[in-house]
């Protein structure tokens, strides 16, 4: 069975890029979310194996969303997507419970590697 991934990003372009990379590498995209609130809803409804989470988003930022999700599912596997220079935010996200991070611009093999590692842990 393919691992189900929930993609969270406020820009459609980024969601599309990620979706392409991941589907090509054998992942099943179970849903897309444009902000933190949506991500929480989709997490509950789709029960993905893994979430990619952008940090800066309207309505609810990624870090808050990670905290929310972790509060009801301590075993949630979330990977943060960040832009360059967001070091502090990434560390904050990791402390909130994210398992790993990937940095934009995305390099396909890195993303795939990170997802595999998080899924296998």
């Amino acid at each position: 069975m393919l691992a189900g991934i929930l993609i969270t990003d406020d820009t459609a372009f980024m969601r599309m890029t990620l979706k392409n990379i991941l589907s090509k590498n054998g992942f099943d995209i179970v849903g897309e979310a444009a902000d933190g609130l949506e991500a929480i809803d989709k997490y509950k409804s789709e029960k993905p194996d893994l979430v990619t989470m952008d940090i800066t988003m309207p309505n609810m930022d990624g870090i808050t969303a990670i905290k929310e999700i972790m509060s009801f599912d301590a075993g949630a596997k979330i990977i943060v997507c960040s832009a360059m220079g967001q070091k502090t935010l990434v560390i904050e996200a990791l402390n909130a419970g994210a398992k790993d991070f990937i940095v934009k611009p995305f390099q396909p093999d890195r993303i795939v590697d990170a997802i595999h590692k998080v899924l296998s842990s």
Partner: protein
Amino acid sequence: MDVNEYKDIYLAEAREYLQSLNDSLLKLESEPDNGELVQEMFRAAHSLKGMSATMGYDHVTKLTHEMENILHLLREGSLALSSPLADVLFSSFDTLENLLAHIENPQLPEVATQSVIDRLNEQMNPSEAEELEVCATAEEVLESPMLNQDHPLVLEEFEKEIIKEAKEQGNNLCFITVKISEGSLLKSVRAYMVIKALEELGVIIKAQPPVSDLEEDNFEHTFTILFQSSMEDDAIERCLYNISEIESITLQEYLASEEVNQSQIHKKDEAPQKNSQEQPTGNKAVNATNAASLAVQEKTVRVDTSKLDKLINLVGELVINRTRIVELGKTEASRGIMDASEQLDRITSELQSAIMKLRMVPIKQVFDRFPRMVRDLSKEKGKNVCLEMIGEDTELDRSIVNQIGDPLIHLLRNSMDHGIESTEERVKAGKTSEGNITLTARHEGSYIAIEVKDDGAGLDAEKILRTAVKKKMMTKEEADALKAEEAYNLIFANGFSTAKKVTDISGRGVGMDAVKRIVEGLNGLIEVYSVLGKGTSIIIRLPLTLAIIRALLVRTGDEIYAIPVENIRENLHVTEEDIKNVNKQKVISLRNEVIPLVSLEGCLKEQEDYHWTGEVPTVIVVSGEKKSGLMVDELLGQQEIVIKSLGSMMGKLKGIAGATVLGNGKVALILNIATLL
């Protein structure tokens, strides 16, 4: 890494290691079987290499690497310390010193290292050199490829404690070297993840580069962590490999021999420790040890000396104003001002003495280089000389320590050159074949005395006088009238040298007068004692500090003068009846001692025209062996004064050491009794 930021610390520490190398090798020459010393030298060279590699000083790294190779062979016992080997090692230390000087001041000429490296290599038996090469490569294979052949981790006392405890508990201690994939973005966060993961598994004892550097991206993909855990190696490894963008992880058992690292405190590492404590998450144990480590580390602080000088100047100003306020307190009727000024007085005094202590450094700093110098000279001159140093821990003002080095070098060289006789001569004179020089520092009241004493030929008063006459420094008659002790003082005269042969180290006759000048410039005194055939002793007396002294204020005419209390033996009132005339010189008899009497005013004007009016306040001043009664108009009392120089425009004034500003804002001249009498 911003190399410049660490340069000063690097240099200070590198020099400490260099000193320790010099000291150990000197000791090793007399105790060739002392393995501890070799071990210590190896450690020093090793640490130097690690530090220099971190800083990117390739020349130093290369040279220390070669030194380390030789020391390794010495340690293994496959090479014995021969005299030529010691010479080569010493010259490699000298080259190292020059390299450090070049690093400190890049304007200095480049230092060539190849010749000394070649000489080091020559000392190594070729076959052994090869062997070593092999074992070095083997070592490198064993270790992580990114690591520069050793772990540049320097452990501090508290870390050693942790290690000891960990061992006692049977915990796993290992070096973990992590390489993050090339091209990894935000590698500092990767490092953070590794650290975070490790903190869940055990305790991070130390990281290289330090955690703060890792967090700031100040590292090249690779870092090493000394880690303590109850987990097995492969469990740790598995856990770390779960983090993405990690290219490799190498675990290596921590061996006892790694404890070789110095106990010297690395200030550089302070910041990272603090930083790691600020990490939002973390193992409680780590935080606890960090807290403990902070307490340990903050015992000493390296401070730029110019900051200290600024501080001492400010305290000087404060002392002056304190005196002023205390004086106001005396005249103002207000009780409050009096109380407050007394308080101020007390606090200022404490502050002053605390700050003076900050400036005090052990004279060891100067003495340290002498054994090496004496060793080199005795080899060069074929004389067998033993240097004994006493009282190296005696402390004195930093500015004095900085200046006293050259005069002492000169005196020691003189002793080696002119004092100590050749071995044959010594044996003929019934002395031990080995010459002895004793260098002593000790406190004498508020003075420090430094004595250079040898058991050599002693000064020949007759020869000195003959030379003086020959050089037309005085007439035959004048020379005949001089006592031996007075003749000795001629060696301090400009252009005087009795040595038949001029060597490169002494005998040019420019030295002793320079020595005297420097000592007097420090408000010190220099005296010579000698017994022909038995030896010479030269004693330098220096004030403990230059900045603030206690002085007696006296008035003569309208002027106020300050006399340093060190020079004062007592004060008394002299009446006309007390005065006797001896050889047209007024004297008084004080407890069976005849003391010449002069008026301060007459002394400064160089003419005697004193008019007697009843009882005259007189200060009995001493300088070395000389005593004199200085008649003044009024004694004003003692106080602390801050010495200010008169400035270069004034030149050198006979009898005046400087000036000070009094509480009422007026300026008083400070008398230099040594030159006044």
